[in-house]
């Protein structure tokens, strides 16, 4: 590792471990009824089997995009999602078996198989719930009927800003999350998820989760995603260059991991920052390889003498710019001006 890379790695790694320590010491009391309910909801998919219809609406700055899927889930880790909308996905379906996902594209007769260890619910609930408690206050909300089921809602409020970040409606008997709303910092709804119907049953046939491709289907190897490593020093060493880190992050966010991957011949480092609920990704490549937006139509903006481009996928924004030969891509479910403020603080 070069001296410059090492000099950057040390403070980044130190900040990471400091953040880990502060997360653990500020955890809230686990006896709080809102927390008990919330914790139970995280484990519910491991023990509850169901079929239902799920609607998801994601809001960008100019439009709403929606998906409607029929879901069959057999605990602990088999799930099929069958798309009813949008029209372009109608009939396509996805089967998740543990960490493997099979995307069946019926129009093009192909199935894409990818793996993501982060899909393991145990990983998600074990390490990160404390981080949520450190940064958010859980408050019990009212009772409501969702999909014909009695639910109790829990609101998570950001401890630093006092803003409502997320509200979930939890089935009182099964603890499955039946509705969820996520909010931007300005109070606007970022996304909604809601079961229109749900039926709890263990009698879902094995055939529903069959991953055998129909005759004539091509099998395509998808991504094998890696869990971001918490050994940031090693990640930086692997990258072979000193990445820049944002100096100003929203309160509660800290570096939680990173990874290095080579895509299209370009080595790219991916740094992940999180406050437990929300995540920001910062990608950097030292070759200056720009993003190929393809059919997407990026919009331009300018900050601190940089010409940047951005596109939105629902509430998720990708902001890209180049500085000192390094190409940066910042992704997060934050408002555009919040992302720009973070980008300004990334100084190579």
């Amino acid at each position: 590792m070069s001296r410059r890379a090492f000099a950057t790695a040390l403070p980044v790694a130190a900040a990471f471990f400091l953040a880990l320590g502060s997360t653990n010491t500020r955890a809230a009391s686990p006896a709080d009824p809102a927390l008990v309910l919330l914790r139970a909801s995280l484990g519910a998919p491991k023990v509850v089997s169901y079929v239902g219809q799920l609607e998801t609406v994601r809001f960008s700055s100019s439009r709403a995009t929606a998906t409607i899927v029929r879901v069959e889930h057999r605990a602990p880790s088999l799930t099929r999602r069958w798309y009813l909308a949008p029209e372009s996905l109608y009939g396509d379906y996805t089967i998740t078996r543990g960490i493997a996902t099979y995307d069946f594209d019926i129009k093009n007769s192909r199935v894409t198989i990818s793996h993501n260890p982060a899909l393991d619910e145990q990983i998600s609930s074990a390490g990160n719930f404390d981080r949520v408690l450190a940064n958010y206050r859980a408050v019990l909300g009212g009772n409501d009927i969702i999909a014909g089921r009695a639910t109790r809602s829990v609101v998570l409020i950001n401890k630093y800003t006092g803003e409502r970040a997320i509200r979930v409606w939890i089935d009182e008997r099964t603890h499955l999350v039946l509705k969820k709303e996520e909010y931007h910092g300005n109070g606007a709804v970022a996304s909604q998820m809601r079961f229109e119907g749900v039926r709890y049953t263990n009698a879902i046939p094995d055939g529903v989760f069959s991953t055998d491709p129909p005759s004539g289907y091509a099998q395509i190897a998808g991504h094998d995603f890696k869990m971001p490593s918490t050994d940031v020093g090693r990640v930086i060493q692997e990258a072979g260059f000193a990445p820049a880190s944002p100096k100003d992050l929203p309160q509660g966010f800290s570096l939680v991991g990173g990874s290095v991957a080579t895509t299209n011949g370009v080595k790219t480092i991916h740094l992940v920052y999180s406050d437990g609920l929300r995540t920001i990704s910062l990608f950097e490549n030292a070759t200056g390889a720009a993003a190929d937006f393809g059919a997407l139509r990026p919009k331009t903006l300018r900050f601190e003498n940089h010409d940047a481009e951005y596109v939105e996928d629902g509430p998720t924004t990708l902001l890209t710019w180049r500085e000192h030969g390094v190409y940066f891509a910042l992704v997060g479910d934050l408002l555009r001006n919040e992302l720009v403020d973070i980008a300004k603080s990334v100084v190579p």
Binding site: P86, V168, T279, S281, D313, G314, V331
Partner: protein
């Protein structure tokens, strides 16, 4: 609930038309009665078949049929001599040579100072989503695929857009219509 459930009630159950209390009663009965479960499976199969048939009418040809046709075409291979003869025809040979030259040019961009490599914007979204999924209450599916994101930045009104290009944008109004 005694004996068996009426067919009308079962049909309404399959189509989510029952009131919550009735739905729960039927659901409980199905847990104990294999006969009624078979009835429900039959009704579900019929519904799926009708839905598939309706979907097939909307397209030119069912994709599975199309796949089989292509499979048959591909399996009907000419003899080696026949294949060579096809390659030597000017109509094939000239474009083939041009494609080879262009392919070689693109394959070694650094040697001729050609365009620098780029990274698909979808890669950033996918990697971000994959990292995000480990956090509590994160989405685990049911979001748009990268190919559908192209529609998101189009400035056309959603209804027009869907009509023009059959892309994957559904508005809240559309959801209501589906219901």
């Amino acid at each position: 609930m005694s004996n068996h459930i009426t067919t009308d009630l079962l049909v309404d159950y399959v189509h989510h038309e029952l009131a919550p209390e009735e739905d729960a009663l039927v659901h409980a009965h199905l847990g104990e009665c294999a006969g009624c479960r078979r009835e429900v499976e039959n009704e579900s199969a019929l519904t799926d078949a009708l839905r598939s048939a309706a979907a097939a009418e909307e397209t030119d040809m069912p994709s599975l049929v199309a796949a089989r046709v292509w499979e048959t075409i591909r399996s009907a291979r000419p003899s080696p001599l026949g294949r060579l003869a096809v390659l030597l025809r000017p109509a094939v040979a000239v474009p083939l040579a041009a494609a080879l030259v262009i392919g070689a040019y693109v394959a070694v961009p650094l040697s001729h100072g050609g365009p620098a490599p780029t990274i698909d914007a979808g890669y950033y979204f996918e990697q971000h989503a994959a990292a995000q999924v480990q956090y509590p209450l994160a989405e685990r599916g049911a979001t748009l695929q990268p190919a559908d994101r192209a529609a998101l930045e189009d400035d056309s009104p959603p209804a027009q857009l869907a009509e023009q290009s059959n892309v994957g944008v559904a508005t809240v109004d559309f959801i209501s219509a589906v219901r």
